[in-house]
Symmetry: C2
Subunit: 644 residues, 2 copies
């Protein structure tokens, strides 16, 4: 097995300047002349001078009569000046050219027209040029309207046209050619119903990179998927160079694995400036130059690809267009849990941030760069610097925001156990008010109770059974929450036995688990579902030591379902949605209570109020009922009030 | 003359809610199904659920060997476990499906391959599922991927495709039909060389409104210019309603003048909800409804049109698409001069803001809504509330930013006298660094010295002659500036006599101004040019009381030039660029010194350093020389050091 190493590992700032220093505004792309009307968002490639003055003539700035100012001097209430309409006083509207010889406008409101309608009486004088817009008052012909490298806002188009420029020279949009590589990939648009279990993956990075490139003002062109073979990759890169594209992205094969050919192909065709950047996600990034054009090897994991684009390609695309890469807004926030980090790597942790009471709180999402949802569910990025060995819970950190700053004030943070009904809540909330963002992170019920108690979130979903008395949640809240709080029911839900479609083993309840021909798969100790299982086994007097597979633990409902689907086990305990996700049969065996825990001090936060309005609505309960496996008899009801 | 009144004047918030309350997400426009790959920036019209799990199979999370974890248990340095390659240990790369029966991956770095290349030696055990990405680790089939009304970011496309959604349902883009009206308007693209002095105006608002609508995600369609006749306007509106457009903008005729027909046409065809909003610019706005569709009368002055769109139309377009209108970033700033305001009107003053030392300072630009440059030169908006009668110099105000917040740290504020060479500086700076914004406001030399002295700007252009000794600028700086400061020369420039093309009166110098057949036009008392004139007249012993037109004063170089062009005067004193702008002849008569004044404490501000590097460069001096009328012998030289 041939292994490569990272040829030329660099820190981010160094990698970036190695690339950016080579290119300035307009390099590679050049300029073009376009209609001013279509120039919003483009960048001038040379200074723009006024061809016309604006206004181009002296004009009335008010509706009224154009007069010779000197003829109104001396006008008073008791000695009005009378002017002949059409001779001494010419009726004008705002914007009309000043009639020859007139040098002021009397506002219509200050004119009295006599009964003959032939004369106008003025009780006040006007001074010369009063209420007149003079030639060039706004723009003087020949003056600079915009400098080079000016990013044209929509309203700038008004100044272009007013100054006589119906066209404007701008830097061309860079053309980015995106080459997806990978023998396991397929095009979902062409094959919408592929069986993924054979190891195939829908190719998504090229669409993301294309959309990101377009958001930078570039034109993105994606070629069909290329197989993982050096010759095929070489052909695709050579084609791209010859196609006239300005920047080429090869995704992926940029790491140092045995099938990672990108770096050797770039090396063969040109120069590798950087192979490997000390960031995570995004480490296996390649920066190469072939025939003077940047060829970037983008890592394959979706979040690595996004970060590599964001940190390396986006600044390049902006620079070629002569503009500053936009910076994300930042906010300081309290970190909700400690984050260890490896010194020598700059980490970009995705977080969910929102205002919780006095503070903005940032909760890290799990790390995996292979999980696209670690960024789609995030609203911020926390950079852990190269030299840091981690950050401590409760410390103040700086967050780069992925959404507008004001959305922080409308973000509802929910940390705890997850249930499908929370997704329903999120959808209901956003349907009634698009501004509301509901951000959920799943750490289990007990983790959620701790997060609420420490004011790290607005609310938590919890379904913790107390085996001593069979009650739900209350005893845990009493033990851990020291401020006034409410437990409000979201739903009662069915836990059940998940079995293969058609239930070939004819399993009906817990008593079947001890059968000789039945293999069980368990959840880990301490999970809500495990607590529930042990409670029910003991209540129904089913001996756990006679259950085959009782020691075999999985960590999620879904992993249990997968074990059943793959035949590793015949049955496991879990919720309906997991069974449905994999097409398993579901035998409801016990109902559990799923509540929302919230501190009283957050009850007046508008998104929280909206949430409780939402779950109390008939429409919501109806939608829950339609999901199946739920009961809404207590939904929205306060189950327990904690006085702290 | 028939006058109308504002039918239904409202405050802004009221006008806005009268319109917005009628429409929710997707109203008027409906939904469409589009390719996920093209959905960046669009808004979901229904919840998106996962069709696939991601990953869709158990896969290797590392390059290495897939093994049965249990077979590695007990492996130690001194007792490695040996596994047969291809049987017990299968070579896998990251992302490969796990081979049947294997449940963990040993990283390649921890494998020792024996010399026969048939066995791999492991010195450490792995636990079950270590280095394996399990089915559904990222996304579980059936789960909610995005709620309704979710604004899709480019990276969200990754989650859509990974979850098996090659298409997505989104709200359609609203179609905005823009009807420019006005008999004086012409289409610059069709008639690029119209003689404006006949009272014609290039139509620019429809292009601005179109670009603003597109920036809100709408599709903009502009129809040809409609003449100011009620029937023509009615036909255009009826056409627009029938065309399938969702929102119709009529520009202008929305005021209450005798030729403002828009309101009566809307009234005839539908309902007028609002006529007149208590904002400035933007007062003559109409909000109407015809056949259920919003028909907005947009005022004619360019900045009024922009404000009416920004405050009324933009929120509507965002709302129809199910998303929040983006809010501008705000900053607090020190107001550089007092602003009187009329109670009962909410004013939107355009300002230039930037960091000057410790503070962000905001300098208001002149008011005229007819001047597009009052917004194109601005980088912020200062709202003066309805009830306010004005704001005082030095007070802290809140500015809504038109550019990204970080540009404030790279904005160079220049307040004082203007010279064409400052435009050249702006262009040079932005050419070498697109991030730099140079913001100039022109208040004359003395105003500039005061602004520098009060730390309201970074630098000022000044050309003030001291008539006592013929020196420039120094005596004024000594008098008014109380901190250490430098006067650095920008240029020496020619003032000259501007005369009609071909110099029909044969004017050669100041001595000709007293000729019987020559009429002069003067500058106002206190201007640098007037000080210079009087100094030169006295030095050359030309009696000013014998100059015809000496009492006739204009306020700008350009106004003097216009007087000469129009034949009102034969000659005036001014700078070459004003003469060139209107095609006048120019007879240089005297050289004056034009310096930049700057406080020493600002010399280390990076944009200031760049400015001085720029003006000291050979390229800059060459470019100045090419303009004509300038001398660069002292350019960049410190002329005076003030110790404060």
């Amino acid at each position: 097995m041939k292994r490569r190493i990272y040829l030329n590992m660099k820190e981010l700032h160094e990698a970036k300047s190695l690339l950016l220093e080579r290119f300035g505004p307009g390099d590679l792309v050049g300029e073009e002349e376009i209609l001013s009307r279509k120039s919003g968002g483009r960048v001038t490639s040379c200074p723009v001078f006024a061809r016309f003055s604006s206004p181009g003539f002296h004009s009335a700035a008010m509706d009224g009569f154009a007069v010779v100012a000197e003829e109104t001097f001396g006008a008073r209430d008791d000695a009005p000046v009378s002017l002949r309409i059409g001779v001494d006083a010419i009726s004008v509207n705002t914007g009309f050219p000043m009639p020859e010889g007139k040098n002021a406008v009397v506002m219509i409101e200050q004119c009295l027209i006599d009964s003959s309608r032939k004369n106008v009486l003025l009780r006040n004088p006007v001074f010369p040029w009063q209420n007149v817009r003079k030639v060039g008052e706004d723009i003087v012909a020949t003056e600079l309207v915009f400098p080079t490298n000016h990013l044209l806002a929509p309203y700038d188009i008004g100044a272009l046209i007013a100054s006589g420029n119906s066209t404007v020279k701008v830097w061309k949009r860079p053309v980015v050619r995106i080459i997806p590589t990978g023998s396991e990939l397929f095009d979902l648009e062409k094959e919408p119903d592929v069986d993924l279990s054979t190891g195939r993956i829908p190719e998504s990075n090229s669409a993301v990179l294309g959309a990101m490139a377009e958001a930078c003002g570039a034109v993105a062109l994606r070629v069909p998927i290329v197989v993982d073979e050096p010759d095929a990759i070489e052909t695709a890169i050579v084609d791209a160079i010859q196609s006239g594209a300005h920047v080429i992205l090869v995704n992926a094969g940029s790491s140092a694995g045995s099938a990672d050919y990108t770096v050797s192909v770039i090396e063969k065709l040109g120069t590798v400036l950087v192979h490997g950047i000390t960031i995570m996600p995004g480490k296996p990034t390649i920066i190469g130059i072939i025939e003077g054009k940047p060829v970037i090897g983008i890592p394959g994991y979706p979040v690595s690809a996004i970060m590599a684009f964001d940190q390396i390609v986006a600044p390049l695309l902006h620079r070629l267009q002569g503009r500053e890469a936009p910076k994300r807004q930042v906010t300081s926030a309290i970190l909700s849990k400690s984050l260890p980090s490896r010194a020598g790597i700059e980490e970009f942790r995705r977080v969910v941030a929102g205002r919780v009471g006095e503070n903005v709180v940032a909760s890290p999402i799990k790390k995996g760069a292979g999980s696209i949802t670690t960024i789609t569910k995030a609203n911020g990025i926390l950079r852990i610097p190269l030299e840091s060995e981690g950050l401590t819970e409760g410390s103040e950190v700086e967050i780069e925001l992925l959404r507008p700053w004001h959305s922080l004030e409308k973000t509802l943070i929910c940390i705890g156990s997850h249930d499908l009904c929370l997704d329903l809540v999120a959808d209901f909330l956003k349907r009634s008010s698009p501004a509301i963002e509901m951000a959920s992170t799943h750490v289990g019920s007990l983790g959620g109770i701790h997060a609420v108690a420490h004011k790290r979130c607005h609310l938590a979903g919890t379904h913790l059974l107390d085996p001593d008395d069979g009650s739900y949640n209350v005893s845990y809240v009493k033990r851990y929450v020291k401020c006034p709080a409410l437990l409000i029911n979201l739903v009662h839900r069915q836990q059940g036995l998940m079995v293969k479609k058609g239930n070939p083993k004819g399993i009906k309840g817990f008593e079947d688990l001890v059968r000789e021909d039945v293999t069980f798969v368990n959840r880990q100790k301490g999970s809500g579902t495990r607590v529930l299982l042990d409670y029910e086994l003991s209540r129904q007097m089913v001996p756990s030591d006679q259950i085959k597979g009782y020691e075999d633990e999985e960590y999620t409902h879904m992993a249990v379902a997968v074990s059943v689907l793959s035949g590793k086990a015949d049955v496991g305990l879990g919720i309906l949605s997991a069974a449905r996700a994999l097409g398993l049969d579901f035998i409801p065996v016990v109902e559990e209570r799923y509540d929302l825990l919230i501190l009283k001090e957050h009850m007046e936060y508008p998104p929280v109020r909206m949430l409780f309005d939402c779950i109390s609505s008939h429409e919501f309960k109806q939608a829950v009922a339609n999901l199946g496996g739920y009961d809404t008899r207590d939904t929205g009801r306060v189950m327990f009030e904690c006085h702290g």
